[in-house]
């Protein structure tokens, strides 16, 4: 057997005093010590002493014999021998260095460990350990930063091995940016470099933790805990975004939860680098479809669009949406896709399923947040990660989240941008009526939430409406409003699909808006549907009397508009009874019901009954508080009285009463308000009858102008005003002639 190892063992156990002639003969077959038995140099010093001196030239910690150090300066033989030893040593180092790229494991596992080598050893300053993870783009190793003894992880980007200088430079620059980030939930990057073997590497903090999804599955039992966890993640993402760093590859595997329960995001800002090496895989291949889908499930639709200019920080929000969705229901939003192409189509063309339709126990607020994040259109996600943080904070504090009504507000905003709803009246109407709808449907929630939500909704609506600019407006009024209402209806139907009474409330409101724009057909289907649902709910005791009265009232107005005055009267009477019981006899809404009832009676030509009802209403209105709403109703009553006089053919009284109503109205609303237009139209009709042609023409012309602007040229009232103008002009001309 070889004596080499035996000899080496003896070497190990022999004390070295550094002066004795230490070199011993070894077996001839041991080539590593070939010629070792022969002295080298001038022979004055032992071979071993020269060898140690050579080693000391590579490792300053090795102490060589000082006498020999002095000797080689003057002895040419020993100097040459030393030079030869140094060369051999250098060669051996270089040769052995090649093995740094070969796995430090038995070849049976045949796992290649691409440890970087440099002239000075492996990755300078780091001691590499076992491989933790290996993916398509790189491998991650346990490591220790030698100087600090702190554990860390070193990632090697394998694909970058043959990268161009430009790519390498970019890699280093990006790492520089990322390394400056300091956040408790972002894994700190220590440093980076390019190994001489070609692989770019970077060293980062080592996290002993679990993947986010695994952590959530095992340890995150409540929606609150999940919300808190996500808030930390969102905060980290927001922090990076504020510094212009986008992750681009957020997924559960890149978010680890450490022992303290703090989420830590890996590879921030490095996805682009990874992309470069993973590039060849971005296709619809079937071989590794499962793997591709795994990665692509987290990519935002715009990332898959092929147009990099569409990608901004909101792609991270989409990815967080997928992660949240997955944590909520245990599957990805588009888990049914079988190919990339299918996945892209689904992501772009369809909405993800509602988490609660998959797992009924999912928290409704977290569901809304997830769906908001998963919007295919980046503009429909949160604007920023900060906004997501804010909403998660609201959720954790038990405050209402913004995601829900913001999506409705978005529709309003978007519509108003596309089609200016021509007159500020229309916008006002939409806002007023819509606000009442919002206020109603949130009445199902607790009072605190309701008030805040309404306030915020009001604010966002006002903002949306304020952003509309009449200067740039064009197109017909009906086009804008129809488009708008259609979108709103779609939106609320989608959002309130599982809350029928709230949906009914909104439908009723939409119906009234349709009615306000003379679209009786659409109004009918919406209001009748709302009435059907709410009547059912009222009988079951699930809808309050005030709620149902609102719908009865809306139905009455619809029937009145459809000229079914008998039906309208019946509905008004039911609404009146409900409101008297729920709100009291002197409530503004109760009195308003009386006023409308009078209109229905007048329309049936039951003028005495109408007068009695109107008188009753006027008496009750004396007890009104001094509010804007109360003043509006009183003006309405004045107007009603005038209309009744007109119905009795008492044009003189009607003219005076309309003038009173107009004066009161002008104190409350701008001179170009549509109600001013309507009143001036009615006044003009009476003035025409009394022969005050000049005043009639002035009022009719003004009414036509106002109504055209506020109601649109096609509105019944506008056409009537226009026709009145024509009549008055004709009579004036005839009279002159």
């Amino acid at each position: 057997m070889s004596s080499a190892s035996d000899e080496f063992d003896r070497t190990l156990h022999r004390a070295s005093d550094g002066s004795a002639p230490l070199h011993r003969a070894v077996s001839d077959d041991d080539e590593s010590t070939r010629g070792a038995s022969h002295p080298i140099g001038c022979g004055r010093f032992a071979r071993e002493a020269l060898e140690v001196l050579a080693v000391s030239r590579f490792d300053r910690d090795v102490v060589a014999d000082e006498r020999l150090e002095a000797h080689v300066v003057v002895c040419a033989d020993c100097a040459n021998a030393l030079q030869e030893l140094e060369r051999e040593l250098g060669e051996a180092d270089a040769f052995l260095g090649e093995f740094k790229t070969v796995a430090n494991v038995s070849a049976t596992t045949s796992q290649r460990v691409p440890v970087a080598s440099g002239d000075d050893g492996p990755i300078r300053g780091y001691q590499l350990g076992t491989e933790i993870h290996r993916g398509g783009q790189g491998a991650v190793f346990h490591a220790e930063q030698i100087a600090t003894r702190r554990p860390c992880a070193v990632k090697m980007l394998l694909g970058g091995k043959f990268a161009s200088d430009k790519q390498r430079l970019r890699f280093e620059r990006e790492v520089e940016v990322v390394a400056k980030m300091r956040h408790p939930s972002i894994v700190t990057l220590y440093e980076s470099g390019i190994a001489t073997t070609g692989e770019p590497w970077f060293a980062m903090e080592f996290i002993a933790g679990e993947r986010l999804d695994e952590f959530v599955r095992a340890k995150c039992s409540s929606a609150r805990l999940l919300g808190a966890l996500f808030k930390s993640v969102a905060e980290a993402v927001a922090y990076a975004h504020r510094r212009g760093v986008i992750h681009r590859d957020l997924k559960p595997g890149n978010i680890l939860v450490d022992r303290e329960g703090t989420p830590r995001i890996l590879d921030f800002g490095l996805a682009r680098l990874d992309d470069a090496s993973r590039h060849g895989d971005i296709d619809g291949g079937t071989t590794a479809a499962g793997e591709f889908l795994g990665t692509f499930a987290y990519a935002a639709p715009e990332q898959l669009s092929g147009d990099p200019s569409l990608v901004d920080s909101r792609c991270d929000l989409y990815a967080l949406g997928v992660v949240l969705f997955e944590c909520l229901v245990g599957q990805k939003p588009f888990s049914g896709a079988k190919s990339i192409a299918e996945l892209v189509t689904q992501k772009t063309m369809s909405s993800p399923p509602r988490p609660r339709s998959l797992v009924s126990s999912v928290d409704p607020d977290l569901e809304v947040i997830a769906l908001r994040l998963l919007a295919a259109d980046p503009a429909r996600r949160y604007d920023t990660a900060d906004a997501l943080v804010e909403d998660l904070a609201r959720f954790l504090d038990g405050r209402p989240i913004l995601a829900r009504e913001d999506s409705v507000a978005y529709v309003v905003r978007k519509t108003l941008r596309r089609h200016w709803i021509p007159a500020s009246f229309a916008a006002l109407l939409v806002m007023t009526v819509f606000m009442s709808a919002i206020a109603l449907f949130v009445a199902y929630r607790n009072a605190e939430r309701e008030r805040e939500r309404s306030e915020r909704t009001l604010a966002s609506f006002q903002k949306a409406l304020g952003s509309a600019n009449p200067e740039t407006g064009s197109g017909s009024s009906s086009m804008g409003i129809e488009d708008f209402l259609g979108l709103v209806e779609q939106q609320v139907t989608a959002e309130l699909g599982d809350e029928p009474y709230q949906l009914a409330g909104v439908l009723r409101t939409l119906g009234l808006i349709h009615l306000g724009f003379d679209d009786a057909e659409r109004a009918k289907s919406a209001i009748e549907e709302a009435h059907r649902v709410q009547e059912d709910g009222w009988e079951r005791g699930e809808v309050s009397a005030a709620q149902f009265a609102e719908t009865e009232f809306a139905l009455a107005r619809l029937l009145f508009n459809l000229r079914d005055f008998v039906g309208a009267e019946a509905c008004y009477r039911r609404a009146l009874a409900l409101r008297e019981a729920a709100l009291g006899p002197d409530d503004v809404d109760t009195v308003e019901t009386l006023r409308q009832l009078a209109s229905a009676l007048r329309a049936q030509n039951r003028l005495e009954d109408a007068q009695a009802v109107l008188d009753d209403a006027w008496l009750r209105s004396a007890k009104f508080p001094d509010t804007q709403a109360a003043r509006v109703i009183r003006v309405g009553l004045l107007h009603g009285r005038a209309t009744l006089s007109a119905a009795r053919n008492d044009a003189a009284s009607a003219t005076v009463q309309y003038e009173e109503a107009l004066a009161a109205l002008l104190q409350m609303v701008p001179a170009d308000d549509w109600r001013i237009g309507r009143t001036r139209y009615n006044l003009a009709r009476m003035q025409l009858r009394t022969g005050a042609l000049e005043a009639a023409l002035e009022n009719a012309t003004a009414a036509e102008r106002i109504l055209r602007e506020k109601k649109g040229a096609d509105a019944t009232m506008t056409r009537e005003a226009a026709s009145l103008c024509e009549t008055v002009r004709k009579i004036s001309v005839d009279g002159d002639g």
Binding site: S5, V55, A107, H279, G306
Partner: protein, 215 residues
Amino acid sequence: MDLDRTTTALLTALFDPKNAAAWEMFDRRYRPILVGFARNCGLKDNDAAEIAQETIVRFVEEYREGKYDRTRGRLGAWLVTIARYRMLDQKRRKGVQRIERGESAMIDLDDERSVTAAYEAERRQAVLREALDELRTRSKTDPKTVKAFEMLVYHGMTTQQVATELGMSAHDVYLAKSRIAAKLRDIVQRLENEYEESPGDWESTGRRPSAGLEA
């Protein structure tokens, strides 16, 4: 069996369709190289594995059909040629649906120098891996010597650190190092001959650039 001694013997044995051992040996030796090569070219693991599979099958077919002419190039060069076509083909097949993102790190398959360098890097890895395996399992080298080698090479420790750690003198570590280096050099040299793909061979066929990695 002496199949694993030389590629020539292996190639001869491959002519026999029933020689499963030859196929196994060839596969065991070249598949990891081809997978690593394809990965070096920028492919992901699954695609790389697919390329390796296709390349080996195609090579054996062509070899049995007598298409492989040793005088026109080394075995490695032949494999690279096949694998390169397979990769171009795969790229074409998948390229239709390919969605561009950022810069590609896929090496230019038309650049022979880069492709050859990518293969050569992987082949050398295979040789080194096998050499290391042989050193550990068959050379009867003292475990403590191997330990010293590992500390020096894998843990980046200095001679003095290893000496302190293992209770040796610096000279002992030096001896261990030169011993291991000499042994590995012998093994690697022998394996290079077996793989018939020493750098010199590439130069003689004009296929290996003098500095492929700088391509």
